[in-house]
């Protein structure tokens, strides 16, 4: 009886809900394309790539289990009304703050329709700045508002 009660109690403790680490993404990127983006005025094409600000988007990773609690951040694109020739890249422009560690993602990563690894870390990190780049632009992109969403997934890793 004592062993049975101990096993039940132990099971109740270890099967309690795990506190999940938390991801917060702030910011957005709105990019107007006008005649000012022609390479050299009339007679020239549009610039093929345009960069956003170095911290247009910021990421916080909180509620980890400590500095040794490892995680990775994945990213993908979900198009709403998008020109198929347009491409998006993202990169980390700083480490943010916090006692945890962070690595990778400081060179341009193209964002596609399926999850790909962006960067990794351990412990809490706040205010990690991200920069976006638009590519594939041409005079073939007719006047319109093109919209997509970048979706980030924080994965707790062993």
């Amino acid at each position: 009886m004592r062993r049975t009660l101990f096993a039940v109690a132990l099971g109740a403790l270890t099967s309690a809900p795990v506190l999940a680490m938390d991801l917060a993404v702030t910011g957005s990127w709105t990019l107007p394309i006008t005649a000012a983006d022609l390479v050299a005025g009339a007679g020239s094409a549009l610039r093929t790539s345009l960069d956003g600000g170095p911290g247009d988007v910021r990421v916080d990773v909180d509620l980890t289990g400590g500095d040794d609690d490892r995680w990775r951040l994945e990213i993908r694109r979900s198009d709403a009304s998008w020109d198929p020739d347009l491409r998006i890249w993202v990169r980390r422009t700083g480490d943010g703050t916090g006692t945890g560690a962070i690595a990778g993602g400081d060179t341009w990563v193209e964002v596609g329709p399926t999850n790909s690894v962006f960067f990794e870390g351990s412990g809490d990190r706040q205010d990690v700045p991200l920069q976006l780049r638009l590519g594939g632009l041409s005079l073939g992109a007719t006047p319109a508002a093109y919209l997509t969403a970048l979706q980030y997934t924080l994965v707790d890793t062993p």
Binding site: L31, A35, T148, L150
Partner: protein
């Protein structure tokens, strides 16, 4: 019995180590405006008619000074040309030659009415040489006509 207890304990511990995930997102909006740009490079053109005879009009031409440049992200555009000079003593024609990104409409005798110079322009950048030709008859006498020639990119 001890083994059974050990199995139960191991199963509960394994169940408690789930890999959690959280998500976040933001939007990217690219707003493309209509782009219709036309420009002249090379500067002003000067034609001097200073020789000839009574058998016919004398003429002068220039095909090397000025170029026409354009960029558009819309379809079915054309470039028209017009002069500001209503009273013309010495007829002036212009033709777009060596055209890329469009089709030349051939020589146009300038008037204050806009006329098609380059047609069939869509979603492209283009260039053309501008070939000017002026003529004068003896009856027209001497003098000068100063034109301000305007090129406009517009819908076909």
């Amino acid at each position: 019995m001890r083994n059974l207890f050990g199995v139960l304990l191991a199963s509960f511990v394994v169940t408690g180590s789930a890999f959690a995930a959280d998500t976040g997102s933001h939007t990217v909006t690219v707003t493309v405006s209509a782009i219709n740009e036309v420009a002249i490079s090379g500067g002003n053109v000067a034609l001097a008619i200073d020789s000839g005879d009574t058998s016919g009009p004398a003429a002068a031409s220039d095909a090397t000074t000025a170029d026409l440049l354009w960029s558009t992200n819309e379809s079915n555009k054309k470039i028209t040309v017009a002069t500001n000079l209503a009273a013309i003593d010495f007829p002036l024609t212009v033709e777009a030659t060596n055209v890329t990104g469009g089709t030349s409409g051939g020589p146009v005798t300038l008037s204050t009415t806009a006329q098609d110079l380059v047609t069939g322009i869509s979603l492209t950048a283009g260039t053309a040489d501008l070939s000017y030709a002026a003529s004068a008859t003896a009856a027209a006498g001497t003098g000068s006509n100063v034109h301000t020639v305007t090129y406009t990119i517009t819908a076909e």
